[in-house]
């Protein structure tokens, strides 16, 4: 029963939706909503990144760069030039898509891991530009961002809202909004994976030569999925900027790119729900470990190391296998 649940696409989405809906029962203060909202935003980002890493087998070391471009584009255009948030977000996504296409298309014609080098350099360049063009971006000290609004309806985590006579805070509204976005992100990703594009990508990951022999335009598909994952990052970057109300160039830094990749690897490459778990763990750990003070960094490193040694496939796939195995053993015993 559980096995079937975990394996089926639509049912996975339903489980996730139920989790998102029921999670607030365990929250007892606005900080939990705040943290959960961020986790949802980062989870949606890595769901996109996972398409590239887990399915096309390419590594992007500059994904925080795309995230940062989305965030800063929204911040600057809504703040300094008075654009409305939603169209700005979409324009930012188009800009990032073009950028990713420009970087990815020529590089992905080559075999091997050249994309990681190209994205590494691109990420650095983006971070340097954000840092140095202080007149536009506020420089290293960052800049404030206006709250998100849809059709003139403002979504700020500090306002009070009422719907059907129920009063609730903006943090709750943000949580459900971010949760909804995560569900949409997962739904789109799962559909891409299960489409001809997804199958072509998996064939590339398995054996690029074999894929080419049967007529798959591998470099086209790789560029396409790179663009898609960059768009995911850009959109979530914009959302994050509006949510947090203040952004700094750290968002676009190399460290942040590594954090994103770690979420994918830790949670389980090529497993959409796995990478969500990765985002949850990586965002929660610093808060949980904060009480250990000086030992925080050491424990953080230790946990990551042990996970990688004992669960090399990532958290989620390993747990999934364990469950499947237990189930098989049980049915064998019964038989």
């Amino acid at each position: 029963m559980l096995k079937n649940f975990l394996q089926m696409r639509l049912k996975g989405l339903v489980v996730l939706a139920v989790i998102v809906l029921l999670l607030p029962l365990f929250f007892n203060n606005p900080f939990h909503y705040d943290l959960a909202t961020q986790i949802a935003i980062f989870a949606a980002t890595v769901v996109g990144l996972n398409l590239l890493v887990g399915f096309a087998g390419q590594i992007s070391l500059g994904h925080a760069g795309f995230f940062g471009v989305g965030a800063y584009f929204s911040a600057v255009m809504t703040g300094t030039y008075g654009w409305t948030p939603l169209p700005t977000m979409l324009v930012a996504a188009v800009v990032v898509a073009l950028l990713a296409w420009l970087v990815g298309r020529p590089i992905l014609k080559l075999k091997g891991h050249y994309l990681s080098m190209a994205t590494l350099a691109m990420g650095f360049i983006i971070a340097i530009i954000i840092n140095n063009e202080g007149w536009l971006t506020g420089g290293p000290d960052g800049m404030p961002v206006a709250p998100f609004s849809i059709f003139g309806w403002e979504l700020s985590s500090f306002n009070q809202y009422s719907l059907f006579g129920i009063e609730f805070g903006g943090d709750v509204a943000w949580y459900f909004f971010a949760g909804f976005l995560l569900l949409v992100a997962v739904w789109i990703a799962e559909n891409i994976i299960d489409s001809p594009i997804g199958r072509a990508l998996r064939s590339v990951h398995g054996s690029e030569i074999a894929a080419r022999v049967v007529g798959v335009d591998t470099s086209y598909y790789k560029s396409l999925v790179f663009v898609v994952s960059a768009v995911y990052a850009s959109l979530m970057g914009s959302i994050y900027a509006h949510f947090s109300g203040f952004i700094t160039p750290h968002l676009a830094s190399f460290e942040q790119s590594i954090v994103l990749i770690t979420m994918v690897v830790l949670g389980g490459m090529a497993s959409t729900f796995g990478v969500i778990l990765g985002a949850v763990v990586l965002k929660l750990l610093p808060q949980v470990l904060a009480d250990f003070q000086e030992l925080e960094m050491m424990m953080f490193g230790l946990i990551l190391m042990l996970t990688m040694i004992f669960m090399p496939k990532g958290l989620f796939p390993t747990l999934q296998n364990k469950l499947a195995e237990r189930k098989r053993k049980k049915s064998e015993e019964q038989a």
Binding site: N29, P30, F31, H32, D34, L35, Q38, N131, N132, G134, G139, P140, D141, G142, P144, S156, F158, D171, S244, G245, F246, I247, T248, H250, L251, P286, Q287, A290, Q293, E296, M297
Partner: protein, 384 residues
């Protein structure tokens, strides 16, 4: 199975009972929240700040607390990451429900937390430098270090008193240097002075000879002013000596520490900078109101932690003491009352300077609170 559950339930009941009893014994503590960059690239700020907070919270509690209640310090390490700072500020406000926040080692960390703190209506005393924190004035945000604008003003004043009007400016492209450069450029006009050369370096540069040569070759330069942070100012000073430039040389308050002197060797002779009186407690005249505070802070800190006191820890001392003063004045931890009390603090003598807060000035320090120091025989010498 049921035995196990029973045992667990018993344990839970025991802990609950214990917590109720301890709760009944002592008055409810006043929660002081703090997020500091204790580790990471800004640890030279956060580490002495945390040590100072711990030291003084201990001392205040030993002396009976504030308005009859003990202090409780709730602190997190943001490791110099602004988004982490924002999250910890959120945790302090929403989960720990602290009464006041004293923290924010860097301007980035402070500013990332400000929107949230403003909307949560929480009194916040920042320990970071840039002028943007309190200008424009934000209702709930205060800060203890002098702003970079005051530092620029103080340096330019001293130059002017030596008859210098044409300045060569060299600054880092980090947050501190960039903000300092802007403030200096804005200030020279008001002082009737002029920046004739304006060059920058990246914080990761290891040699600034090229920039300094450009300044030296600019006609009319009468003095050189470096606004930077971390390692770079020491390199600039060394290069300055190597090039044999014979003009008065100024550094900013960002490097005002004994550690900086060690880095310089003989290269720093004649160098001037604006600094907290904490660096020269013994040279202060007895008439100086800050002398007692500064000497006592230095002594206590060095006894407790067995390491040299730093200017940055002084910011935390003043931040905590202002918070305590405000809570005492307000007679409660009611946020609006504490905020009003903070705003009305007049003539409070701290380590950094004498604070005169008002509704239009949430820093409360004038440029005079900086002392101009000169390096003489490898030691700080008080000029005025």
């Amino acid at each position: 199975m049921s035995k196990k559950i029973l045992r667990r339930a018993g344990f839970l009941a025991a802990t609950l009972a214990a917590s109720i009893f301890t709760g009944a014994q002592a008055a409810e503590p006043i929660k002081i929240g703090s997020f500091l960059s204790v580790t990471g690239p800004a640890s030279f700020l956060g580490d002495p700040e945390l040590k100072t907070l711990e030291l003084y919270v201990e001392r205040i509690n030993a002396a009976g607390g504030v308005i009859g209640r003990p202090l409780e310090l709730v602190h997190y390490d943001d490791a110099g990451d602004a988004s982490a700072a924002r999250n910890f500020a959120s945790r302090l406000v929403r989960s720990d429900r602290v009464d006041i926040i004293v923290g924010g080692s860097t301007t980035g960390a402070t500013m990332a937390a400000v929107p949230l703190i403003e909307q949560a209506r929480m009194p916040f005393i920042s320990l970071a430098g840039a002028v943007v924190i309190t200008d424009p004035v934000k209702k709930w945000v205060f800060k203890t270090p002098q702003s970079d604008r005051a530092a620029a003003e103080r340096v330019l004043q001293d130059m002017k008193s030596r008859g210098i009007t044409k300045v060569g400016l060299i600054s880092g492209t980090g947050g501190f240097g960039r903000s300092g450069r802007e403030q200096t450029l804005a200030m020279v006009g008001k002082m009737g002075m002029e920046v004739v050369a304006d060059v920058t370096y990246s914080p990761s540069d290891t040699d600034m000879t090229a920039q300094l040569t450009r300044i030296r070759n600019t006609p009319g330069v009468e003095a050189v002013f470096n606004f930077g942070f971390g390692q770079s100012p020491a390199i600039v000073t060394r290069n300055y000596a190597q090039l044999g430039i014979d003009l008065p040389f100024y550094q900013s308050h960002g490097v005002a520490s004994d550690r900086f002197l060690d880095l310089l060797g003989d290269a720093g002779e004649g160098l001037r900078l604006p600094a907290s009186p904490l660096l020269v407690p013994d040279s202060l005249p007895n008439s100086d109101p800050q002398k007692a505070v500064v000497t006592s802070y230095k002594k206590l800190y060095e006894e407790r932690w067995n390491m040299q006191v730093s200017t940055f820890g002084g910011y935390a001392h003043d931040g905590l003491m202002l918070a305590v003063e405000a809570i005492e004045k307000a007679g409660s931890t009611d946020r609006e009352a504490v905020r009003k009390a903070l705003e009305s603090i007049q003539g409070y003598v701290g380590v950094t300077g004498v604070f005169n807060m008002s509704s239009t000035d949430h820093n409360g320090l004038s440029a005079d609170s900086f002392r101009i120091l000169e390096v003489k025989n490898g030691k700080w010498k008080l000029i005025n």
